[in-house]
């Protein structure tokens, strides 16, 4: 018996003087090696181009376990026949002499062949029988061909089953050589040292396969988009506000923004209130008084809301529902420190007591920008929004009147979803839309904006010709659109897929 190397040498040697090996199976038999072993060698030689191997499929027959037994012991009908003595035998005695299965199959078969009769002893009807079945089985074992009718009969008796043989026909390949040296896969330091690199044969590289995955850590997709938004604000000259205070008083979150105390947003259905620390104790008292007055009686040209404003409501602590709570603190501070023009921004978490579903979480990130200066106009707001959103690749905006308790005018920002052209962000958006055609040329809301009400700004002590224009949007929504994520929990929170963090692309909003 030869080993694989021996088989390889023999095969290559054979091809040196012969044009073809038509059947690798016969070749293996002649060589005295297992065909499976030779097949491995053939595949390897083929891979390196030494030989050209083509599949040859052949169907042959194989004995079943039962067939194998009969090929040794003879068919059951002949066994039964042989067990019947010349003088006959009782059926019971005959049965006792044989295996149960041999008797039951063989007796029936011998009877139908009319070899035996019962009168009532079982006795031979013919003198001699030939075991054709056994011979047929042996022929199949030897790979000889049988007639279709014989095959059919054996198949019916479940003595043989078909077997597919896979073999190869082999000719010389493009890189044929009578012997081969092992091909290299890597350039090694040794090759460089010994300068053998020019002599070594290299295994062809499979360019269809993926390379080896990189190692290293990855940044979170939502925060990659946050980085982009921060860059845009910084490039546009905005200063970041300190937003690391999730617990806020109702005063700064609502009252300071001229949001009346009966406003539905202040309902426990929308806002998280705190049991501990349940209330805020210290406020700038004079400012609090001015806020109370503007709510109750108005002032600065406003009639106010005309209701009883309660300090207890303002004291209640909440998880801030918007980062505008921080804006109100910053603008108040600006008024105290002495007004100078400012551009502020922040991107941080806000909290809503909402039911969690595919598009809503109890906490999400709000992006907010504002400009505080004398003489700002609605035209300025529209202009700055166009500048901001065009940096995200949204060139065409439209504005819809809206209502918000602390801005007047209030404008919802809409952008058009274009057909397939424009920036990569838009392309991404389009490609991830299920209802692609429906989305075309549609106006989609992308944020909210407005000018802060004088009832908010003037009690702070800002000069009365100062206006504040502001806008806000969520960070999650553009991120989900950008990365084609349709369930917010796949993005933010512990159910995130770590594979998603690893595989998501760089944030090219607006590039």
């Amino acid at each position: 018996m030869r080993d694989a190397d021996g088989a390889e040498r023999a095969l290559l040697a054979f091809l040196e003087s012969n044009a073809e090996i038509s059947n690798s199976e016969a070749f293996a038999r002649d060589l005295g090696v297992d065909h499976e072993l030779l097949a491995g060698t053939i595949k390897s030689l083929h891979g390196f181009g030494f030989i050209e191997a083509k599949d040859v499929r052949r169907e042959s027959w194989e004995l079943t376990e039962e067939g194998l037994v009969y090929s040794r012991n003879g068919s059951p009908e002949v066994q039964v026949f042989d067990a019947v003595p010349a003088g006959g035998i009782s059926r019971e005695d005959l049965q006792r002499k044989l295996d149960d299965s041999v008797f039951s199959i063989g007796f029936r078969k011998a009877m139908s062949n009319k070899w035996l009769e019962t009168k009532p002893l079982v006795s031979r009807k013919v003198l001699k029988v030939e075991d054709v079945v056994k011979q047929q089985l042996l022929d199949i074992k030897d790979g000889k061909n049988l007639s279709a009718a014989d095959i059919d009969a054996l198949k019916k008796r479940k003595l043989i089953v078909p077997k597919v043989w896979k073999a190869y026909s082999i000719t010389k390949g493009a890189n044929y050589a009578p012997t081969r040296t092992k091909a290299a896969t890597e350039v090694t330091r040794e090759m460089l040292l010994k300068e053998t690199w020019s002599e070594v044969a290299f295994k062809p590289y499979n360019f269809q396969a993926l390379g080896q995955p990189t190692e290293g850590g990855h940044l979170h997709p939502l925060l990659k988009v946050r980085t982009k938004f921060r860059q845009i604000f910084l490039e546009m000259g905005f200063e970041e506000m300190p937003t690391n205070n999730f617990v806020e008083s109702s005063f700064w979150n609502f009252d300071a923004l001229f949001q009346p105390q009966q406003h539905p947003a202040r309902d426990s259905h929308d806002t998280f209130f705190l049991k501990s620390p349940c209330k805020t104790q210290t406020f700038p008292e004079d400012y609090l008084e001015r806020v109370k007055t503007i709510h109750e009686q108005g002032g600065f040209g406003s009639i106010g809301y005309m209701y009883d404003w309660k300090r207890e409501e303002a004291e209640k602590n909440v998880l801030r529902t918007h980062t505008t709570a921080v804006s109100s603190r910053m603008l108040y501070k600006l008024a105290q420190d002495g007004f100078v023009p400012k551009r502020y921004f922040s991107i941080d978490r806000v909290f809503r007591n909402e039911a969690v579903d595919r598009t809503h979480l109890a906490e999400f990130h709000q992006i907010e920008g504002l400009i505080c200066d004398k003489g700002l106009t609605l035209g300025d707001l529209i202009g700055v929004l166009n500048d901001f959103f065009s940096r995200l690749g949204m060139k065409k905006l439209r504005f819809k009147p809206a209502y918000n308790p602390y801005t007047e005018p209030s404008m919802e920002i809409f952008r058009q979803v274009y057909p397939l052209y424009g920036s990569s962000a838009l392309l991404t958006l389009i490609s991830c839309c299920n209802s692609y055609h429906e989305q075309l040329n549609k106006w989609v809301e992308v944020g909210n904006s407005g000018m802060f009400r004088p009832e908010m700004l003037l009690p702070m002590g800002l000069p009365d010709d100062v206006s504040v224009i502001a806008w806000g949007l969520s960070l999650e929504r553009p991120t989900m659109i950008l990365y084609g994520i349709d369930n917010i929990r796949d993005l933010f929170g512990h159910k995130v897929d770590l594979k998603l963090i690893k595989s998501n692309p760089i944030c090219r909003l607006g590039m």
């Binding site: 290293g216 690391n244 209130f273 005018p409 770590l498």
Partner: protein, 586 residues
């Protein structure tokens, strides 16, 4: 934002032409309402009954569902929406709402008893005389009350509306507050008499009304309105009496609004009469009622007078950024239901109708000018404000550290601040000593009970959900936790933490220790600048944990996660973990 259903046919009739859906959508966009959905009445019923869509037939009446701004109570019914659109499109002129001229003696009275002060002190009333209802108007009349109750009335707590067939009643009326057992009447939709006390029991099983019981339930006296024959008109804010129920055939309607907030009661009453006086024989005329308060002061209501507001023209022009002429501004305002005239001193005087309670300040007038001019017609300008961009140092610092951790082979996760008490304490082998964690009082589910005091629960939950991720897993988070802090005005403060976890078939304690050294290295803290000392934290494994000290104080700890904690979070593999405060290194 409230949504109002309007039949498309009605809209087209009222607007005097047929609009395609796109055209109507566009009109809504310009004026600031929104075509939210297009449906049919039958489709709504089918939806309620969860029937299949395919049963729709062609000739069903199409209904537009229109979202309106939350402060425009006058747009809460089809009448109001059509009126605003007609005026905007200049199909209709702004109507003048007026009180009918009657001798004082013929004006009906509502006498308020002093006891009402403790439960629901205010009432305002009006009468719509000679009204003609039909199916649609009647349905709209009921719907408007429902929407007002839902919105401005804050589910009837602030204001409750009662409407009555005046012809079944005999004035004057009294508004009283009596012990529940003394009030007895047949309520709407019932056949038998109940005492108010019995009613409160009876309605506990009523899906619609049980929500309102709490408003008066605990009071020793309940508000109630009687006519001069002691017929009960209503038990506000729960139910009206059956006796004075209105029907399609009612000609004269008494509207009463009881309230804890008088301003809102007036707005509600004005909205009701402004919307439906259009169906009276004398169009837009309302019959007043005199409300006599406990000290005998008489207030005639409703007050339909026009409020005036003087607005600087320069303020409007400067705020919008468009050089409009006074005449143009007056013209634009007329589209928004505001009449105005130019007065001396570069000003206009604006006359605000009772339907526009949303106008509080000249800025609201300015907005209406901008809306009528068209937001999208305003030329873009750039603010001249020149400022420098600047980052918050803490955020800039955090971002630099985030990059370092990612470069060290750790992947970033981002978890919620809100966690359950169990996750923040029990599952970490910790007890809540009520001294560190801020607690939410009204979480919708136990998932949001407490603000995390460390980043650990979130990261362990990530691992719980990452069982099939090939090991080793290396994750980090740099984010805020919240701790009670009496030195802050609100009593709590954020603290920025850095946390990293390694998980594999072995615990990898040295890997986390090495990461700590690396963090100190990039923070430019020399090897002898920090110390680690064995510790005994319950969430970490004994003998494989230490506290990190920097400049004499503890800034964090690291160690192998305690096997019990791993089990609590159903994590099959050992993990090592480091968490530290980073603000001290800033």
């Amino acid at each position: 934002m409230p949504t109002v259903s309007v039949a498309r046919e009605l809209l087209h009739t009222m607007l005097g032409r047929v609009y395609t859906q796109e055209e109507f959508d566009e009109l809504c966009f310009v004026i600031g309402i929104e075509l939210d959905d297009v449906t049919t009445e039958k489709a709504i019923i089918r939806k309620e009954k969860h029937l299949q869509e395919n049963e729709a037939d062609e000739d069903e009446e199409v209904i537009y569902k229109i979202e309106v701004p939350a402060n425009r109570y006058d747009l809460l019914c089809p009448e109001g929406i059509c009126r605003q659109l007609r005026i905007f499109l200049r199909v209709e002129k702004m109507p003048t709402y007026r009180l009918s001229r009657l001798p004082d003696s013929s004006i009906l009275k509502m006498i308020v008893k002093p006891e009402t002060a403790v439960i629901r002190p205010f009432v305002v009333c009006a009468i719509l005389r000679g009204i003609t209802f039909d199916q649609a108007r009647y349905a709209s009349f009921i719907d408007l009350q429902d929407r007002l109750h839902q919105n401005i009335c804050r589910k009837r707590t602030l204001v409750a509306i009662g409407t009555h067939d005046l012809d079944t009643l005999q004035g004057p009326f009294t508004y009283e507050a009596l012990p529940p057992s003394e009030i007895k009447f047949i309520p709407l939709k019932q056949a038998q008499e109940f005492t108010a006390k019995e009613l409160m029991e009876f309605y506990k099983s009523d899906l619609k009304l049980k929500k309102f019981l709490h408003i008066i339930e605990d009071s020793p006296v309940f508000p109630v309105i009687y006519d001069s024959n002691r017929t009960v008109l209503s038990l506000p804010p729960i139910i009206n009496g059956a006796h004075s129920a209105i029907s399609l055939n009612t000609k004269n309607v008494l509207i009463e609004c009881t309230a804890t907030d008088l301003t809102k009661a007036k707005i509600v009453l004005n909205t009701m009469v402004a919307m439906f006086s259009g169906y009276c024989d004398e169009k837009f005329e309302v019959e007043p009622v005199d409300v006599v308060d406990p000290v005998g002061r008489v207030t005639r209501c409703p007050d339909l007078s026009l409020r005036t507001m003087d607005v600087d023209l320069s303020y409007i022009k400067k705020s919008i950024g468009v050089p409009l002429q006074a005449g143009e501004i007056v013209d634009l305002l007329s589209k928004m239901q505001l009449t105005s005239k130019e007065i001396d001193g570069d000003k206009i005087q604006v006359f605000i109708p009772p339907t526009r309670s949303d106008i509080l300040h000249p800025c609201d007038v300015m907005e209406d000018v901008a809306v009528a001019y068209g937001f999208n017609n305003i030329p873009k300008t750039r603010p001249k404000t020149s400022t420098e961009g600047r980052q918050q140092p803490l955020n800039e610092f955090s971002d630099l550290l985030r990059l370092e951790l990612a470069m060290a082979g750790f992947s970033e996760v981002l978890n919620w601040v809100l966690v359950s008490k169990k996750e923040n304490f029990t599952l970490l082998n910790r007890k809540d000593d009520e001294k560190i964690a801020a607690i939410v009082s009204n979480p919708r589910s136990s998932d949001f009970e407490v603000l995390r005091t460390s980043l650990l629960p979130g990261i362990l939950k990530v691992m719980e959900h990452s069982k099939d991720v090939p090991r080793p897993v290396k994750v980090f988070e740099i984010s805020d936790v919240v701790l009670l802090d009496p030195s802050k005005d609100v009593g709590a403060a954020n603290s920025r933490h850095l946390a990293a976890l390694y998980c594999s078939t072995t615990s990898g304690f040295e890997i986390i220790h090495g990461l700590l050294d690396r963090i100190m290295n990039v923070l430019n803290v020399p090897v002898d600048g920090y110390t680690v000392e064995p510790s005994n934290e319950p969430e970490l494994f004994k003998g494989r944990q230490a506290k990190i000290f920097y400049k004499g104080s503890c800034v964090g700890s690291f160690g192998i996660i305690h096997p019990q904690v791993l089990k609590n979070f159903d994590i099959p593999d050992p993990c090592s973990y480091v968490e530290m405060e980073i603000e001290r290194f800033l």
